[in-house]
């Protein structure tokens, strides 16, 4: 029987919560197993990038799943439900207006910044273990910028990140309350996913990239154009390539830039779309 969570490992300092959960899964621990850390010394990011947060300033959590029946091509939906549950939980716990947070394709949590820029609030990264055509286990990690004040944001991230503390107008960051609120929302989403249901509409509707000009770094170089939406079956980002006007579907890449655009016939761009 699936329990969310079945086990929680609380750690003061750890190299990576992903590693802790992976080892628990490898040792046969039943799902859903969590690792929560005050501080990560080697938090993992995409392409070996590290995730940096001062001790206690962020919610750093990894969850280990054994999603029987989830097809490998739908494994990304684990990242999507982790992000959607956190989006709702963070808006509630930080007292944010609905719609303050959104997704940046595929599953980063962002808020609107000045000049139409998107400010990152949380990042999601996952790894899965495949046995043939079966997804036998997966670990999804999320790191939420919690208590950062302006002066605490590292210089190289200034202008590209924000925190729940800043978005809430100075509320104290309540990490344990956020964790609890997230788990309460993750459970129904995960049980639904296990029974073959996915909140495709919610995932699509919260994509802030839709209607904006995006630049996406892909394996074959950067693709730029207006994002037209996402494909909830494949997870692909759909855009109109500005070099030739052709419709593209991007399945793996990183949105490196995203800005508001003036679309013909629409005044004031698509802010809040």
């Amino acid at each position: 029987m699936t329990r969310v969570p079945a086990r929680v490992e609380r750690l003061a300092s750890v190299d990576s919560t992903q590693r802790v959960v992976r080892e628990l899964l490898d040792a046969g621990e039943p799902e859903v197993v969590l690792a929560v850390a005050d501080h990560q010394t080697a938090g993992r990011g995409r392409h070996g990038r590290t995730w940096v947060a001062p001790p206690g300033s962020a919610l750093l959590v990894s969850a280990g799943f054994r999603p029987d029946g989830l097809a490998p091509r739908h494994g990304w939906r684990l990242g999507a439900i982790v992000a959607l549950a956190m989006l709702d939980a963070a808006e509630e716990v930080a007292g944010l207006r609905d719609g303050t947070l959104a997704l940046k394709w595929p599953n980063d949590l962002v808020a609107d910044g000045p000049d139409g820029r998107l400010l990152k609030v949380a990042g999601v990264l996952g790894e899965s273990i495949l046995d043939g055509d079966r997804l036998s286990a997966a670990v999804v990690g999320i790191g939420v910028n919690g208590s950062w004040r302006e002066a605490e944001i590292p210089a190289d991230l200034a202008g590209s990140v924000t925190s729940l503390h800043l978005l809430s107008g100075g509320r104290p960051f309540e990490r344990d309350a956020l964790l609890e609120a997230w788990l309460a929302r993750l459970e129904p989403r995960y049980l639904a996913l296990r029974s073959g249901r996915f909140d495709a509409g919610g995932w699509s509707a919260r994509q802030r990239t839709t209607g904006r000009r995006v630049e996406v770094a892909t394996a074959s170089g950067t693709v730029a154009g207006i994002a037209r939406g996402v494909d909830p079956e494949s997870g692909d980002l759909l855009l109109i390539d500005e070099t030739d006007g052709a419709a593209r579907a991007i399945g793996s890449g990183e949105v490196v830039r995203c800005r508001l655009v003036e679309l013909p016939g629409r005044r004031g761009g698509v802010a809040g779309a």
């Binding site: 091509r73 990242g79 899965s128 495949l130 043939g132 692909d236 399945g251």
Partner: protein, 158 residues
């Protein structure tokens, strides 16, 4: 010794340049047509029937990947076992940039051993070998887009 014709010099320079492009890409083949001349560079691994590999990203709507994947390799003529991709995504042959590769040609691989990662939508999927044996060929390049069922490595079972 007479100078080679300017056309020939230009052609050789072009072949050199295309060769570099081919090496740096995950394409199996580059074809270029100018005037009455058609020039095709093909990787040794891309034995016929190699489908034309468009350089541009694929059109939307067909569950298409963001770039043209390397055309599926021809079946191993020697009867080696092909370990195939279970899903579409970007293939990585090492756990992180600069790290040692999971497998090397000539090296041993065990059934259940991780041979690479396929990233799709920021989920890194560990791909395992389903046989034990000697790695005879690595059929895809690090960082290239692969399609489901495409051959990743070929193993001589032992």
């Amino acid at each position: 010794m007479s100078e080679p014709a300017p056309e020939l010099v230009r052609l050789i320079a072009l072949v050199d340049r295309l060769e570099g492009l081919l090496d740096a890409s995950s394409l199996a083949e580059i074809e270029i047509e100018a005037g009455g001349t058609t020039l095709t560079l093909r990787r040794p691994s891309a034995l016929a029937p190699a489908a034309p590999a468009p350089v541009a990203v694929a059109p939307a709507g067909a569950a298409a990947p963001s770039r043209a994947p390397t055309p599926p390799a021809a079946p191993a003529p020697t009867g080696f076992h092909a370990v195939t991709a279970p899903l579409t995504g970007v293939y990585y042959g090492a756990p992180s940039p600069g790290a040692a590769p999971y497998v090397t040609v000539g090296g041993h691989v065990s059934a259940g051993q991780v041979i690479g990662l396929i990233e799709a939508m920021k989920l890194f999927n560990e791909i395992k070998s389903d046989v034990s044996g000697t790695v005879r060929r690595i059929a895809v390049e690090n960082g290239a887009l692969v399609k489901g069922k495409q051959t990743l490595i070929e193993v001589e079972p032992s």
